[in-house]
Subunit: 208 residues, 4 copies
DNA sequence: AATGAATGAGTATTCATTCAT
DNA sequence: TATGAATGAATACTCATTCAT
C-alpha cells in the first residue's frame, strides 16, 4: 500500500483544486459573466489550460465544484449563525444579513449554475436536499424562538419555508434590477415576520 | 389620403410580428434552450431568416420583444384577476394559481431573457416599474380585503412586497429543482398569509 | 411604327436613368464606399429597389453606367479645355486643375470600378480606348504647343504618355494617403514638363 | 534562464507566421480575388482556421501583415538596387524592371489591401513615410548620377517625385487594363527621363 | 411600370477540449 | 503532471435580386 505517496498525491490534488477554485471564484465574481473562459480561469490560477483538465473532467464539472463549494460555505456559515448564543430574533436578523452580504459579493456565482446549464446535471434529489437544509436552518431558529417563548407557537416548517421563499425572491429581484440593495426588502421581511411571530399577550404560553 | 394603405401596412406588420412572436415562443418553450437559433425561429414562423430582420433589428430585440409581450400578458391577466368580483382571499388564491400556471408554461422564456443577457439592456427604471406594478396588484387586493373586513388592518405595501418576494422565490426555487410543482409551496404561502391577515376577533373593525 | 409612344418611352427611360445616375453619384460620393447598397441608391433616387432593375439588369450594370458617364464627363471636359483658345502651356495647367478638381470631388467614384469588380467586365479594348483618348488629349495640346513654338520639338506621343502616367500616379498616391491635396505634386509635374518642353534658345525652330 | 525556451517559442512563432504569410500570398495571388476566405488561407497553410487567430488578431491584421511584408520586400530590394555598383542610368532601369516584375507577380495583393479597406487603417504618417522612402530611393540614384556627371544638374527631389508618380501611374494603368505589360510604358518613361537628364554638352560640369 | 417585402446563400470568429512534448 | 498550440464546429447578419400585387 503506497500510503505515503498516495496521500502526497491527494494533498497535491487538493491544493491544485483549491487554487483553481480560488481562481475561478475570482474570475467569476470579477467581471461580466458572459464569457467565462477556461483560459481565464487557468490564467488566474497560474496554470496552463490543459492542467485544468487534470483536475476537472470538463468545464461543467469545474463549475459544479465551484457551485458546491459556495453552497457549502454559505450553508455552514448559516448553521453557525443558527447556533449562535443569542436571541432567536437576532439570529434571524444576522442570518439574513449574512445571506445578503454573501449574495452581494458572489451574486454572479448564483447565476452560474443556472446560466452555465449545470443545474440540469445536478440530481434533483441533491438540489432538493440543499433546499431542505436551508429551510431546516431557518426552522431550527424558529423552533428555538418558540421554545424560548420569543415566538408564538406557529407551524415552524411552513413558516421557515415561506421565509426562505421570500429570501430567495429578494435575491432574485435584486439580481433582476441589478442593484444589490437588500435593505428595504430585508426590513420589510423581518418586520412582517416579527409581527407574525409575536407571542399572543393573552395566551402567555410557557413551553415547559 | 395615405391612411388606408398606411393602415394596411401596419396590419401586415403586426401580423408578421405576431407570427414571429408565436414561432419564437414555440421554439423557446419547445425544447432545448441552449442555442436558440434565428434559423429555427424563422423556420417555425415559416419565413426566411432575412425576414426576421425586417421586423426586428437583431436577435436581442426579438427576444426583448418576446419578453415584454409575456410580461404584458401576465400583468394584464393579474390585473384582471385583481378586479374580479370575488372575495379578496379568493382573488389572492386565483392570482397565485394564474402566476404558477403561467410560469409552468413559459419558464423557459424567463430563463432565456436572463441567459441571453437582454435583461442587462432593459433600463433599470423599466424593470423597477414592472416590479412595482406587480406589487401594486397584490396590494390592491390586500386593500380591498381590508376594506371588506376580510383582512385585518395591516401595512398593505409591506405585506404585498413580502408576498411578492415569496412568490418570486417559489418560482425561482421550482425553476432550480426543475419540477414545476407549486402546490405545496403555494399552499404554505397562502396559509401563512391567511393567518397573518386574519381579522382580530377582539377588535371587530367595521370599515364603514 | 409607334414612333410617338416609342419616343415617349425612351424619354421616360432616359429621365429615370438620369435620376438614378444622380442618386448613385450622390450616394457614392457621399460616404464611405464600403457598402454601396442598391437600397440606398433607390432611396436617394426616390424609387423602390425593384424599380432599379427595370433600368439596369443588375448592380454591376448600374455601376458600369455610372462609371461610363463619369468618364464621358471628364473626357469631354478635357477635350473642351484642350481646344480652349489659350496658350498650350496654360491649357496643360488648366487641364491638370480640372482633373484634380474632379478627382477631389469624385474620388470615390474612381475606386468604384476597381473595388466593385466591374473592371474585369469591361472589355480590354474599351479600357484601352479610354486611355488612348486621354493620352491623345494631352498629345493634342503638346502638338499645339510645338506648333506654336511654345514647346520644343519632342516626341509628343511619348511625352503625353509619360505625362498622363504621372497624372494617374498622383491621383493614386493621393487616394492612398487619403489627403486629396494635389498642389505640390501638380506643381512639380508642371514644373518638370515646362522645363522639359522649353524651346532650345540656340535652336529657335519655327514650325512653318 | 528562460532565454532558450523563449527563443524557441519565438522561432516557432515566426515559422508559423511565415507559413501563414506564404499561404496567404499563394491564395491571394492565386485566383479569384473576390472573397478571400480565412478558411482558404488556413487550408493552404495546412492548419485549422482557429490557428490563424493565434497569430493574427483578425483577418484585417493578417492582410495588413501581408501588405507590410510585401512593402518591405520591394523597398529593400529597391534600396539594394539603388546602391548597386553600376552606372546611375542603369540602376534606374534595373529598379524599374524590378518594380514592374514585382507588380506583375503580386498585383492582386495590392488590390486586396485596397479593396479590403485595410488601407484606411494604416496611419497617414506611415503611408507618407513609405512614399517618402520610395521617392528617396529614386532621388538617391539621381543624385549619384548628377555627381557622376551622368545626369545634368536638376532638382533631384522634384525629378524623383515626378518619376515616382509616373511609375505608380503605369502600375495603376496596367492594373486597370488587366494586361501587365509594362514594356512600352517603361521604355517611354526611361526615354523621356534620359533625355531630360542628359548633361548639357555646352556646360560640361565636372563635379569635384 | 412601380412597389417593397421576402428571399437565402455566404463567412469571420470563439473557445472548450485534446495531445504531443 | 504540466504545458499551450492546435483544433474545428457552430451561428448571426447582410444585401442583391425576385415577383406578387
Amino acid at each position: 500500500m503506497a500510503t505515503f505517496s498516495e496521500r502526497q498525491r491527494q494533498v497535491k490534488q487538493q491544493a491544485a483544486q483549491e487554487a483553481i477554485f480560488d481562481a475561478a471564484l475570482k474570475v467569476i465574481s470579477g467581471a461580466s459573466l458572459e464569457g467565462l473562459k477556461m483560459q481565464d480561469i487557468a490564467a488566474a490560477a497560474g496554470v496552463a489550460t490543459g492542467t485544468l483538465y487534470n483536475y476537472f473532467k470538463n468545464k461543467e464539472e469545474l463549475l459544479y465544484y465551484v457551485d458546491q463549494r459556495l453552497h457549502d460555505q454559505i450553508l455552514s456559515k448559516a448553521i453557525e449563525i443558527a447556533h449562535a448564543p443569542v436571541a432567536a430574533g437576532q439570529r434571524l436578523s444576522l442570518l439574513l444579513q449574512e445571506i445578503f452580504s454573501f449574495a452581494a459579493t458572489y451574486h454572479l456565482v448564483f447565476d452560474l449554475a443556472e446560466r452555465s446549464g449545470i443545474v440540469d446535471r445536478i440530481p434533483v434529489q441533491e438540489k432538493q436536499e440543499l433546499l431542505d437544509q436551508a429551510v431546516a436552518t431557518f426552522q431550527f431558529i424558529l423552533e428555538d424562538g418558540v421554545a424560548e417563548g420569543a415566538f408564538r407557537k406557529v407551524d415552524t416548517r411552513k413558516t421557515a419555508a415561506v421565509f426562505f421563499d421570500a429570501v430567495i425572491g429578494i435575491l432574485e429581484i435584486q439580481k433582476y434590477v441589478g442593484t444589490y440593495d437588500f435593505t428595504q426588502a430585508g426590513l420589510d421581511l423581518l418586520g412582517l415576520f416579527r409581527e407574525y411571530l409575536q407571542p399572543d399577550p393573552f395566551m402567555p404560553e410557557r413551553n415547559e
